[in-house]
Symmetry: C2
Subunit: 357 residues, 2 copies
């Protein structure tokens, strides 16, 4: 398990003194930078990672791909997981906050599903331990898919082709069509949604030519200014929790006072406005930024982070370099074929598109 | 061009006398049935068909696949072509009528995009001559994607990767990013969405074992009762217009009095409640039925057609046989890979999710 690391965040601050020296003029020592980076980060694996308590099999992945794309998991039968975690658009919806059932706007910006399997916990406040727990949330949330587990199960059981898929994915189990197994299959599919081989990954794997000079300067600045104190690990974030505004709280537009973050999960005063450090993989593709989705420009997001988390006015050149580095974390996306979903039957529940029934 | 064929529909009626004889007991003469069927229908081509005034190139198909899946063609940036013409669900949305901008319900049931390229005209009332004309409609319709051509073009031009794709798809043209070319690229992609090799196609191509005895009886009944008078050609429909209720108008639930069909296009009194004969390919996958989407059961839809178009109470056995035959028109679906869409830039217009701005 992991905990809010106020200390780790605070510890990053003294490094700032180094960061404001003229990094641009410096020659990059690739060997030293690679070594430093390898101590903080690791490459996205090139094979499907294992997940806790859920064997990732081909049958489960196939079923999960269907469920992920199936709008009949929502009450309206209009919205699928892919609506807000669009695999064609960096794994999110590029909206401030998602549009859900009845065109309601959700409370927080949709996180990307790509590489999410490598996060230590899920949601902005880490309230789900893993993707199989996470997957159950939006299906039931009134502002999202607005469905009920028993209706989901009834829907899937009404289609013999789905039942056969569940039997293959969960063999030797009586009654394999359960809400838990829906979540397990989705998690298995999501485990395949990893984006290895970015220029950054190639660099830390040992190819000094994989990054441009500017990207290397950005990586160096990302480490030296202290960004990497929170945004570390395989996903450059997604591993631990920090207050948004360690040094200075951003304005109410970016940090709405009503959303107290992890406090809602732990009911602990020190968790007010605490959020999971955002995983930064492919971040150039997932504007707008922050849990409020109020910042569309990655440069601006980086500058805000400088002030709020590091207490530093990053120079324009530093911001440009960091953004160039972040763009170099864009990896190779897996090929996903559009599934052909089972046909509804006379037993399949009807769509409920009205908000009040 | 084609015209409303009241006469053809009327001419079908005398055949009814034949239809009510006990078809179940009869042995099917495959040679005769194949010959008869080949005079009325033709198989879905196994290669991408040519389209009028639009060379279907690989570059255009690739671009069209991106545009078809891109929600940024809509004002809200929530809805794509694929939202209502879902390639995973028989090419439509399996809703009574589609849900569009601001969660508004559209006026008519969404037609399938599969094999639509083979229809003689598009929309329930045939108001678009082809798919490149059709594609422009929903993008602009207030209850659908609610966008404006100039915003679509501005959006696409803001992303250099899209501009490069347009340059490749429309070479040697100054300023290839136009609304017309958006529609042309979508049409080119849609030309690939054909579903050949159904059991029915294999049968009329000469394989007597491709259909079961019941499916053959259904095909024979479909011809003998007169269904095939309107639902003929490669798509078993989609070629010509007929009044809904040639013999007897269905109830107001199925045929809402406000929607006068092709009358709105031609302003001709004889076109009141006239619609394009629905193409019946893969119809088992595209419930609910009729332009009103009020009938979920294909058996019921067939029975209603019997009464309203043929003036015949089809027996349960006839309905079952026809439905079995219709299910045998479900073809092989093309493999479509989820595209990776270009990343937005600082110039990309923002999503407008509110209905009143």
């Amino acid at each position: 398990m992991f905990k809010t690391s106020m200390l780790a965040a605070a510890a990053a601050l003294p490094l700032l003194a180094v960061a404001t020296t003229g990094a641009q003029a410096q020659e990059i020592d690739d060997k030293a930078l690679m070594e430093q980076a390898n101590g903080l980060f690791e490459p996205i694996p090139r094979t499907i990672p294992a997940v806790r308590d859920n064997a990732v099999t081909g049958e489960k992945i196939d079923l999960g791909r269907m469920l992920f794309h199936d709008p009949r998991l929502s009450a309206s039968q209009v919205l699928s997981c892919n609506t807000c975690h669009n695999l064609a658009m960096g794994g999110d919806d590029n909206l401030e906050t998602s549009i859900g059932h009845g065109w309601q706007a959700g409370p927080r910006n949709s996180p990307t599903v790509y590489n999410a399997v490598l996060n230590a916990a899920q949601f902005w406040d880490g309230r789900a331990a893993d993707l199989k727990e996470q997957a159950k949330g939006p299906i039931q949330a009134g502002v999202e898919m607005n469905n009920k587990p028993n209706v989901v199960v009834e829907t899937l059981k009404s289609m013999p082709e789905y039942v056969a898929h569940f039997e293959r994915a969960f063999p030797n189990i009586d009654d394999p069509v359960t809400f838990d197994n829906v979540a397990r299959a989705i998690e298995a599919f999501e485990a395949t949604l990893i984006t290895p081989a970015s220029p950054f990954d190639q660099y830390i794997e040992g190819n000094p030519n994989a990054l441009t000079e500017q990207e290397k300067r950005g990586l160096q600045t990302f480490i030296d200014t202290g960004c990497a104190s929170c945004h570390a690990g395989v996903n450059l974030g997604g591993q631990d929790y920090y207050p948004f505004g360690v040094v200075e709280k951003p304005g109410a537009d970016v940090l709405p006072p009503d959303d107290k973050g992890r406090f809602a999960v732990t009911q602990t005063a020190t968790d007010e406005y605490v959020f999971r450090a955002v995983p930064l993989r492919n971040v150039a593709l997932t504007a707008p930024y922050f849990h409020s989705g109020q910042v569309w420009d990655l440069r601006q997001a980086v500058a805000i982070m400088g002030v709020s988390q590091l207490g530093a006015e990053l120079t324009d050149a530093q911001v440009d370099d960091i953004v160039a580095f972040l763009e170099a974390t864009t990896g190779e996306f897996p090929e996903v074929e559009v599934p052909q979903l089972p046909d509804r039957t006379a037993e399949t529940p009807f769509p409920v598109t009205m908000t009040a029934e």
